[in-house]
């Protein structure tokens, strides 16, 4: 049963004012999607161009159609022959692959640094913190050359970069997870004959799965939306996000079916929104990050 929150008169006034401000703000955000539907359902590319000239893009079309959502699948084909479905596939393997590799390795490495005492432990810990604290500017050209040297540009092998896990706020989040888990679970398991791998894989890792799944989803969304790194390292295997950007850029010079483009934009937004709506409670409540020491 929902508990009613009691507030003083002063609080009610403040909360009412904030409520109105937030309501206006979210209405503005939602308007983007309303506009997107208006744009994606224009009768034709010609009608779209006319709407630009008459300032009526933000109105419903008299020739309302949903066919643009079908055209979107044909409209997006880039210079390398990647279709809309191909780009979607690229988004899927890139997002799932990167997150799976990254989270498993980061969880494993952080677990060891957090729970075990060994030579070099503090060095690793401090290097991670130092890496977070010292932002090295301008390594992009060197990074590009290194990737080129490895032969991972424009290749699914780019996923190897997800193994670079010693750094970032994810380390702090995992560190908080493992720090909060009692070592008594491990000691009991050792007494029962478990080895270190058993303890990690069968006891510790499963305990963090709810939080890891949340990190996975938020990371998946981040990778799904990635476009700048894709433009540098995977331009021949574009993800949907980058493909949409390229299509928009090409249209500025060569023209194209804008309603179909916006239908594609609409489709591209569906997976992250769906994932978020399903898991929003977990995403918002299960992540906690500690501070930095050092």
């Amino acid at each position: 049963m929902r508990q009613k929150i009691k507030r003083t008169k002063g609080e009610r006034i403040i909360f009412s004012i904030v409520f109105v401000i937030l309501a206006i703000y979210v209405t503005f955000i939602l308007y983007h999607f309303y506009l997107l539907l208006q744009l994606a359902t224009k009768g034709s590319a010609v009608e779209y161009d006319q709407a630009v000239l008459t300032d009526t893009l933000g109105t419903w079309s008299k020739n309302f159609t949903l066919k643009n959502f079908i055209y979107a699948f044909d409209a997006f084909t880039d210079d390398y022959g990647n279709t809309f479905l191909g780009m979607t596939f690229n988004s899927v393997w890139f997002a799932i692959g990167s997150q799976t590799i990254f989270l498993f390795l980061q969880s494993s490495a952080t677990y060891v640094v957090c729970k075990y005492k060994f030579k070099g432990r503090m060095l690793i810990y401090n290097l991670i913190l130092l890496r977070m604290l010292i932002p090295i500017v301008g390594t992009l050209p060197a990074t590009y050359r290194a990737y080129d040297m490895l032969g991972i540009l424009n290749s699914p092998l780019i996923l190897v970069t997800a193994t670079d896990v010693l750094g970032g706020s994810g380390f702090l989040i995992f560190y908080s997870f493992y720090k909060a888990i009692s070592w008594e679970y491990a000691e009991s398991a050792f007494i029962d004959g478990a080895n270190h791998f058993d303890v990690y894989l069968k006891i510790m890792f499963p305990m963090t799965l709810p939080s890891i799944s949340v990190l996975f989803i938020s990371g998946f969304i981040g990778h799904w939306n990635e476009y700048m790194n894709i433009s540098l390292f995977l331009p021949e295997l574009p993800t949907l996000s980058y493909g949409l950007y390229m299509y928009e850029q090409n249209m500025q010079y060569a023209g194209g079916n804008m309603p179909a483009y916006f239908a594609g934009v609409f489709i591209a937004a569906i997976p992250p929104i769906t994932l978020f709506i399903i898991f929003q409670n977990s995403i918002m409540q299960k992540i906690h990050m500690g501070g930095l020491k050092g």
Binding site: Q106, A109, K117, G138, V165, Y245, V265, L292
Partner: protein, 306 residues
């Protein structure tokens, strides 16, 4: 690293194998993707390409001389890039972060429709930037609803807000602020949810109003998270490039150091702007950022346990 449960054994082969197995890939990766690349970047800063078709270089300080001379030349773009980086940093630290904290607080306090607010404010974060920026541009540019609205009120708006040096930066700043407020919801929300309810109850019994509660109770309780956010924001002073690629590609007075380096890497940097020059620029700005980061760190007095 106090209060950590630590396994203490003198000789444990199984444990050693386990530690090595868990760390070997991350360490190799760290050595290549961080150490090797940074050393390479450092060396590149002292190289001057010969453009001899063979990839030849000579060594020297020419890149640094070129950049330092730009610091004192107001006609060069470098000062503009620095100014823009500082503007974006100030926007993030002094506008977006406090606003995000305040909104997060009211959501935490379960303001009416808080669940709907939480989801909708977070939407711009989860949908592709390419999608949201396109919609924002359509909204304000020719033919869009803003132009239609201006027409109805008899106002003559500029023909473009983006490809226009007078408005481009402001237009992007407005976008970054309103679309990014949900970005810190997860960490702020997580930290607030971890506060012991009895602390909030005690403050309420003492008559603390919403803002008093936020400043005197919530903020100190989530300080490690908040301070880390401030610190990470300062590290982005010259490394964050924002959504410039999706707007004007930095061509209308909006470019930052980081975005310029991106342009150089993509081969779009302009005549005489090489990878090596970008690496030298990066090195100088890394050195310039360090005191800012450490001053921010000491100001926020970040410790793991406070």
């Amino acid at each position: 690293m106090e209060n950590t449960n630590i396994v203490k054994k003198k000789i444990d082969v199984g444990q050693t194998i386990f530690i090595i197995a868990m760390l070997i890939i991350p360490i190799i990766s760290f050595l290549f993707f961080y150490v090797y690349i940074n050393i390479n970047s450092f060396l590149m800063a002292f190289q001057i390409p010969l453009y001899d078709g063979l990839g030849g270089v000579r060594w020297g300080f020419d890149n640094f001389e070129k950049i330092i001379s730009q610091f004192f030349n107001t006609e060069e773009d470098l000062l503009l890039y620095i100014r823009n980086g500082v503007i974006f940093y100030c926007q993030d630290t002094f506008i977006s972060m406090p606003l995000s904290l305040i909104i997060c607080y009211f959501i935490y306090k379960k303001i009416a429709c808080f669940k709907a607010f939480r989801v909708i404010i977070y939407l711009p974060i989860i949908i592709p930037g390419t999608v949201f920026v396109t919609l924002y541009k359509t909204m304000i540019e020719a033919g869009g609803p803003y132009q239609m609205l201006c027409g109805k009120f008899g106002v003559e708006p500029p023909t473009t807000f983006i490809f226009n040096e007078q408005y481009a930066l402001k237009t992007i700043l407005i976008y970054v602020i309103y679309s990014g407020l949900g970005g810190r919801f997860i960490l702020f929300g997580g930290a607030m949810n971890a506060i012991e309810p009895s602390i909030i109850e005690a403050a309420k019994l003492d008559g603390a109003g919403p803002f008093r509660e936020l400043i005197s109770i919530i903020l100190p309780c989530i300080w490690p998270t908040f301070a880390t956010m401030v610190l990470l924001s300062s590290t982005g002073l010259f490394t964050a490039s924002g959504p410039l690629l999706l707007f004007d590609k930095g061509d209308y007075g909006t470019c930052t150091i980081s975005y310029w380096i991106y342009k150089v890497t993509t081969g779009d940097g302009g005549a005489g702007e090489s990878y090596e020059l970008a690496a030298a620029t990066g090195m100088i700005f890394t050195i310039l950022t360090l005191p800012i980061v450490f001053i921010t760190k000491s100001l926020t007095k970040i410790t793991e346990d406070n």
